[in-house]
Every structure is written in structure tokens, then in C-alpha cells.
């Protein structure tokens, strides 16, 4: 793929990933030809609303797409190793150890009948069987401290911890084995704003300390603009814009990105006129011909209604899925 950069520091490379599933005898492309790359110590923010496919994309990177979804095409390369070609056993080996996942809902992601310590023991000993239970618990305590939880809490049950603390435990479990890539799927959506800020600070601090790469998946554009290095904007399963966050902020290209930026309130500005993007979220069962966004686009042309635009380069490491001639029109 032309738009995927590759440097010696590239940890993860996703190329043409496509996920389909069947609903009521119809085929839905939840993820359509998505490509991007991730460097060491980099945070990639994947932002999208309902129907964007971002969660399916996240799960497909670790091959946990739930039935009836299937990855039908693409490559996911982690430090040179192609994940989609691995056997199930090998993939299981990697999960938690080289690439890990923080789930959205801290309330239900931990086993309520097992202590926090048991979660650590199970995780560590699955990947490093020679470690004893005592050693695993000791490591667990250290990591809990790292994420800001008192080490004694390792003997608690999940229900004894608050939502924010549970999410920290999830993060602790995700980094316990020093993975290269951490995927955080809406890690703070269920949390309050102060806890959210602290969790996001924590994720970035850990990223710097361990040199890992972080993928932040969210619907909240403010969060990704504030905290990620690069941003992938998704709509109806496709990448519509991919650039550095400063470029997205100062020079957004795609009408959807522009619309999103105009619709979110900025608490640091005193005067703002905000506008919604008209229309409705995409109906994945009945996508329009041509560009998936054209029904809501203020500058849709005849060509947009007929042809789906390809992802083209519109700046330094800046890619947009829109026909280039329109840029002159809406300047």
C-alpha cells in the first residue's frame, strides 16, 4: 500500500485488512481495506462513530473477530511476523505477551469470582509456565503499583474496586508481559472525566516508559487530538483520512473530518459556532453507490455518487479518501 510508511522503528503494519460478516442473508463489510502502520512509542488514534468498524478492526488485529465475522483479506505484521498466517496456537501465544488488548467495559471484563491476583497468575503462567504462583503475584503487585493501585489490592475481588480502578487493573494486565503493542478499545468511555484523564495520562506514561506502541480507539475526537501522534478517521468501515494529529487539526481534508471538527465543543474557546453533520449514520446493510459519505457531504459531485474515491496522498504523510479535484472547489 502506498500510504503506509515503514521505518526501522515500525512495530505494527496493517495492510488491506477487510472483515465481512453475514446478516440476514446479506454481506456487510465491517472493515474495508484498512491500512496503517505504528512505530515504537507512538500513539495511533482510531476515531469513528457507529458503523465505522473501529471495534471490529481492533478485534481483527488480534484475530478475535466474533462469529459470524470473518477476516477475508489483508496482512497484519507485528515486528515482521504475519499474524494472520499463524496457527491458532501461535496466535494465542502472542496475545497478552506481544500484543495486548484493553477492553471497553471494566465492569464485565474481569472475572467476578476470582481475585485480582488470580487474574495475574493465570496470565503470567500461561505464557511463562516456569514462573511460580508466588513469583507471579509479586510481579502483579509491582505492576499494580505502576498503574497507581496499592499493591495490597491484589487480594481483592473485582467488585471491591471502583470502575476506574478496574480499568487500571485491565491496563496492568495488558502491560504485565511487556507487549510491544497495546490496543485500547474505548478505554475510558464508561469512566468519569477526571478518572478518564488520569487513565489516559497513565497509558501515555507507560508507553514512554516501556517503549511500546499504543492504539487508542474511541468515538471522542477530542481525546485523539489531544493524545495521539497520528489519527485514522473511519467511516462505514473505510479509512477516510489518515494523518498526523496536527495536520488533522490545522488542515483537515475530508468533509467528514471537517464536519466532525466543527461539531465538537472546545472548552478553551469562548465563542464557538458549532454545526452538526446532517443526515444519519451509515446503514451498513444499504450503503449508497459511490462514496459512502456522499449523502451527508456538502460538496458531493456526480462522480462521488457513482465512484468510490480511492485513498490518495494529499500532503506529507497525509492521506484522504476523496476526489482531489474537489479540494479546489471547497477552498
Amino acid at each position: 500500500m502506498t500510504h503506509v510508511h515503514e521505518t526501522p522503528a515500525t512495530l505494527l503494519n496493517v495492510d488491506g485488512l477487510t472483515v465481512e460478516y453475514w446478516v440476514r442473508q446479506r454481506k456487510i463489510r465491517a472493515v474495508d481495506n484498512v491500512s496503517f502502520s505504528l512505530d515504537k512509542s507512538e500513539t495511533l488514534g482510531i476515531v469513528g462513530e457507529s458503523g465505522s468498524g473501529k471495534s471490529t478492526l481492533a478485534l481483527s488485529m488480534i484475530r478475535l473477530v466474533p462469529y459470524p465475522g470473518r477476516i477475508i483479506r489483508g496482512k497484519v505484521t507485528l515486528e515482521g511476523e504475519e499474524l494472520l498466517k499463524l496457527k491458532n496456537e501461535q496466535m494465542r501465544n502472542l496475545r497478552g505477551r506481544r500484543i495486548s488488548y484493553v477492553f471497553q467495559d471494566p465492569m464485565t471484563s474481569l472475572n467476578p469470582v476470582r481475585k485480582i491476583g488470580a487474574h495475574f497468575v493465570e496470565l503470567i503462567r500461561t505464557h511463562e509456565p516456569k514462573v511460580t504462583e508466588k513469583e507471579a503475584l509479586e510481579r502483579g503487585r509491582k505492576i499494580l503499583e505502576n498503574v497507581g493501585i496499592q499493591p495490597e489490592r491484589i487480594n481483592d475481588y473485582p467488585h471491591q474496586l471502583s470502575g476506574g480502578m478496574r480499568q487500571r487493573v485491565m491496563i496492568a494486565l495488558a502491560i504485565a508481559l511487556n507487549p510491544r503493542v497495546v490496543i485500547a478499545d474505548e478505554p475510558t468511555t464508561a469512566l468519569d472525566v477526571i478518572v478518564q484523564a488520569k487513565i489516559l495520562d497513565l497509558l501515555n506514561a507507560l508507553r514512554d516508559e516501556y517503549g511500546m506502541a499504543l492504539i487508542l480507539i474511541t468515538h471522542d475526537l477530542s481525546i485523539v487530538l489531544e493524545r495521539s501522534d497520528r489519527i485514522l478517521v473511519m467511516y462505514a468501515g473505510r479509512v477516510v483520512e489518515y494523518a498526523h494529529s496536527t495536520d488533522i487539526y490545522y488542515a483537515p481534508q475530508h468533509p467528514y473530518t471537517k464536519g466532525l471538527l466543527k461539531s465538537i465543543p472546545n472548552v478553551e474557546l469562548s465563542e464557538q459556532t458549532l454545526e452538526a453533520i446532517g443526515g444519519s449514520p451509515p446503514d451498513m446493510l444499504r450503503l449508497p453507490k459511490g462514496c459512502a459519505f456522499w449523502p451527508r457531504c456538502y460538496c458531493a459531485t456526480e462522480r462521488c455518487r457513482e465512484e468510490e474515491p480511492p485513498l490518495t496522498q494529499t500532503g506529507t504523510e497525509h492521506f484522504t479518501r476523496c476526489f482531489p479535484e474537489k479540494k479546489e472547489k471547497n477552498k
Partner: protein, 286 residues
């Protein structure tokens, strides 16, 4: 009317296995009902009459498709017309259950508190009895006959309706749209009829189909032990009782064919229930 049935069947078939279950079940039920209804016109022999010169215990043959019983009556004719009692009993019992069980369930569980507790206690104690035993006890008390059978079956089944409705009402009661109705000023009666009941209907339908199936089997059972209808009316249950004794003498056909019909009718309802349950309570789609 037929012109709307075919498209309806088409939509059902598209729903996959569940749709087919309903279609097959419906075919069985409707088929048997129709056959029973038109039986007076299609029976080769009079099923209630006892022939004067009987050909008793004739095995299945060209003249008697299903053979004859010990009174010389043609089993085939009796089979065609014997469903009437079963169908009447099950329909009446379901109607009684709906008329009593549904309002009771709605009101008691929505009101909550002591009312819910007391009614629940009564229902639970009834539910604790094995159905057939309770039905027998009631039938023995109130006497024989189709209506009485229906009533005893209804009494046995009301607790099931109550349970299902109660669990639904309890969860729907907490839903925001009920809260919104309260916020707009709706009275309790309105909320029960327009907000809770329509959302409970799918589960009621499923219980009703199971009720039908069970009623048939219980009616057969009641008749089997002699608490059913008088001997002269053709009835599968009756034939079961009769045929049981004849098995030892090798006349298998007297009990088998009515037995198969009972199974088919019960199966028809059960299949419809399964299919409806699948469609009305679908698994979560992503």
C-alpha cells in the same frame, strides 16, 4: 384471504429454520383441525354407531384402512373424527388461561409488594404439583366431560402463564419508556394495557402454544383413566384406553393410530411454539 397467506408463508420461509418450524407445525395443526371438521362428510363409516353385525378386530385392509376395534367400528373413521374433543378442550383451556392468567399476572407483578407476594405464593404452590396429578384431582372433583377437562387443565396451567408474565413485567417495569409514560402522566391502567402488555405478548404466545400441546396430552391422559368424555363420542383418548386392553390380543392398530394422531397434533403445536420462540425472542444481532 388465500392471497395474503402465500406471501406470509414466503416471509416465514425466509426466516430460516424458525420459519419452517412454524410452517410445518401450522400445517399439522390446521390439517388435523380441518380433517376433524369435515369428518362427518368424509368418513367411510359412522364412527359412533355400533354396527349390528360387527366385524370385530379386523386388521388394516382395503375395506378398513386402519382396521376395526372390538366393537366392529372402523378405526379410520374414528381417527378422522376423534380429534374434536381434544381440540375443543385445548382451545377452551387456553382461552380460560388467557382470560384469568394474563390480567392476574400483569396486575400482581406491576403492583408489587404484598399483592405480588401473596398471589405469587398461591401460584407457586399450584406450580409445585405435578400437572397431571393436579388435573386428575380437579377432574375427579368436578366430574367428567369436555368442559370440565378444559377447566382442570386451565387451572393447572395458569401458574405457568403467571410466572412468564411476571418475569417479563418485572424487567419491562424498569424500562425507561415506562418511566417516560409515568412522566407524561399516564395512569396505571394505561401503562399496563398500552406499554406493558404489548411487550409481554410475544412470551404469552409462546406459552400458549406449549399450553395447547400440553392440554392435548393431558386430555388424552384424563380420558385414558376414565375422567373424559362418554364412550359414544369418538375420541382418540377413548380409543387409547380401549386399545390398551386389546394389545395383548395382538390388535395393535386400535391403539396405534389414535396414538400417532395425538402425537402429531401435540407436535404441531410444539413446533409452532419453538418457531415462534425463535422469531419473537431472537438472539442479539450485532
Amino acid at each position: 384471504m388465500l392471497s395474503s397467506i402465500l406471501p406470509a408463508l414466503g416471509t416465514l420461509a425466509k426466516r430460516g429454520l424458525a420459519g419452517w418450524l412454524i410452517i410445518i407445525g401450522a400445517i399439522l395443526v390446521v390439517g388435523i383441525t380441518v380433517v376433524t371438521a369435515i369428518s362427518p362428510w368424509i368418513v367411510p363409516y359412522n364412527p359412533s354407531e355400533i354396527p349390528s353385525s360387527p366385524n370385530i378386530l379386523v386388521p388394516p385392509s382395503a375395506q378398513h384402512l386402519f382396521g376395526t376395534n372390538d366393537l366392529g367400528q372402523d378405526v379410520f373413521s374414528r381417527v378422522l373424527s376423534g380429534g374434536g374433543i381434544m381440540l375443543q378442550v385445548s382451545v377452551i383451556s387456553v382461552i380460560v388461561c388467557l382470560a384469568i392468567g394474563v390480567p392476574l399476572g400483569l396486575f400482581a407483578s406491576y403492583t408489587g409488594g404484598v399483592v405480588d407476594r401473596v398471589v405469587g405464593l398461591v401460584m407457586d404452590s399450584m406450580y409445585a404439583f405435578p400437572g397431571l396429578v393436579l388435573a386428575i384431582a380437579i377432574a375427579a372433583m368436578i366430574g367428567r366431560g369436555a368442559i370440565n377437562m378444559a377447566l382442570s387443565i386451565a387451572v393447572v396451567y395458569i401458574p405457568s402463564y403467571f410466572r412468564v408474565i411476571r418475569s417479563q413485567v418485572l424487567s419491562i417495569k424498569e424500562m425507561t419508556y415506562v418511566e417516560a409514560a409515568n412522566a407524561v402522566g399516564a395512569r396505571k391502567r394505561t401503562i399496563l394495557t398500552r406499554y406493558i402488555l404489548p411487550n409481554v405478548v410475544p412470551s404469552i404466545v409462546v406459552v400458549a402454544t406449549v399450553n395447547f400441546a400440553d392440554a392435548i396430552l393431558t386430555a388424552a391422559g384424563l380420558t385414558f383413566i376414565g375422567l373424559g368424555v362418554p364412550v359414544t363420542i369418538p375420541d382418540w383418548g377413548q380409543d387409547l384406553t380401549n386399545g390398551k386392553n386389546l394389545l395383548t390380543s395382538g390388535a395393535w392398530w386400535v391403539i396405534t393410530f389414535p396414538g400417532i394422531m395425538i402425537i402429531l397434533l401435540a407436535l404441531g403445536f410444539t413446533l409452532m411454539g419453538e418457531g415462534l420462540s425463535e422469531i419473537l425472542n431472537p438472539r442479539l444481532e450485532q
